[in-house]
């Protein structure tokens, strides 16, 4: 946090998350997906761009197990990962 008596410089103001708080995964229902994701990160030198598919899978798992509010994946920034419509089956939208 910012030091006291420091009116001139900017201070950090924490903001609430946009969609609120994740409920805790007490039963480890999505633990496998998390492990896949972490493994992908470790393999790719912690490059998030390479592991977006796994993160999408994890969030889908959360939504399926009522651990996250159902949201269309585009709203979570996964538009590029969405499956294309059937009439464009040739195009693959993987990063």
């Amino acid at each position: 946090m910012s030091t006291a008596m420091n009116f001139g410089s900017k201070s950090f103001k924490p903001r609430a998350p946009d969609k609120g708080s994740f409920p805790l995964d007490h039963f480890g229902e999505c633990k496998d997906f998390k492990e896949t994701f972490m493994k992908c990160l470790r393999d790719n030198n912690f490059n998030n761009s390479q592991c977006r598919l796994q993160s999408k899978d994890y969030l889908e798992c959360r939504m399926n197990h009522q651990l996250m509010a159902q949201e269309p994946l585009e709203k979570l920034g996964f538009r590029d990962l969405m499956d294309p419509p059937p009439n464009q089956a040739d195009k693959d939208a993987k990063p």
Binding site: K10, F12, K13, P14, A16, K19, F22, L41, N48, G77
Partner: protein, 262 residues
């Protein structure tokens, strides 16, 4: 001796002739007495006149001072009204300053406030800026009174602005009783904090851990694509996200931070 008498007689003349007669009559009887009475009369006549003049002057002076007093009074009243109005104006201004300053801060972006409000559509439409790679390091802290083991599951992650990212923390309750914790976060450098947007995390809400339970806590966030366009952020390559857990007391409710700018 007759002369003063005559003079006095002339003075007596404007008065009634009776007085004059009296003057003449008493002339023969008792001279000193007459003189004395004449003197008295003379004095009596003179004194009222003088008094009258004096009173006339005093009255006019009084009137003058009265009007002056009134003038002062009105002037005082005007000045007092002005002062009171200024005082009330100052108080009103100090009350109005709060929303005005907030508006100004939003317009100018001072104080680390968000320049533009967040909208959920931004997440949908933002394009990742693939050239700019930023390293996010994670830090986990616990307050001394909470006995959780809290740590990040990755020390760092490389993201680009405009791309959503997922990160995990792990918390473990090694004790035999359930502990409720509540967390807050911090982003360093401070100026980058306004571009760090969390879609969902585990902060600011009570999280309960049962005895000997271990959970994964995800943070889903993204860096605003405008980060790349900000000249102040040109040299920023590393952003540190730091979470701190505190023990939540029974019935205590922490307010959500800050004003709601969004």
């Amino acid at each position: 001796m007759l002369l003063p008498l005559l003079v006095r007689q002339s003075l007596c003349r404007p008065q009634t002739p009776v007085l004059f007669l009296r003057c003449v009559r008493t002339l023969r009887c008792d001279a000193p007495q007459v003189l004395h009475s004449q003197d008295e009369h003379f004095l009596r006549r003179r004194l009222p006149l003088r008094f009258h003049t004096q009173s006339r002057g005093a009255k006019s002076r009084k009137r003058q001072s009265k009007s002056q007093e009134e003038e002062w009074k009105t002037r005082n009243k005007t000045v007092l009204t002005y002062i009171v109005a200024a005082g009330v104006g100052m108080i009103g201004l100090s009350y109005a300053a709060v929303p005005l300053y907030r508006l100004y801060c939003q317009a100018s972006g001072l104080g680390g406030t968000a320049v533009a409000g967040h909208d959920a559509d931004l997440v949908e439409t933002m394009k990742p800026v693939k050239e700019r790679v930023i390293k996010i390091t994670f830090n986990a802290d616990t307050h001394a009174s909470i006995q959780w083991n809290f740590r990040p599951q990755q020390t760092e992650i490389f993201v680009v602005p405009g791309e959503t990212a997922l990160a995990f923390y792990r918390a473990r309750n090694p004790t035999d009783k359930p502990i409720i914790g509540i967390s807050t976060y911090n982003v360093v450098p401070f100026e980058a904090g306004q571009y760090f947007n969390k879609i969902q995390c585990f902060c600011f809400e009570e999280q309960r851990l049962n005895p000997h339970e271990e959970v994964d806590m995800p943070v889903f966030f993204y860096i605003d694509p405008e980060f790349d366009e900000d000249p102040r952020m040109a040299r920023v390559d590393t952003i540190t996200l730091s979470y701190t857990f505190f023990e939540a007391k029974e019935g205590q409710k922490l307010p959500l931070p800050g004003y709601s700018y969004n």
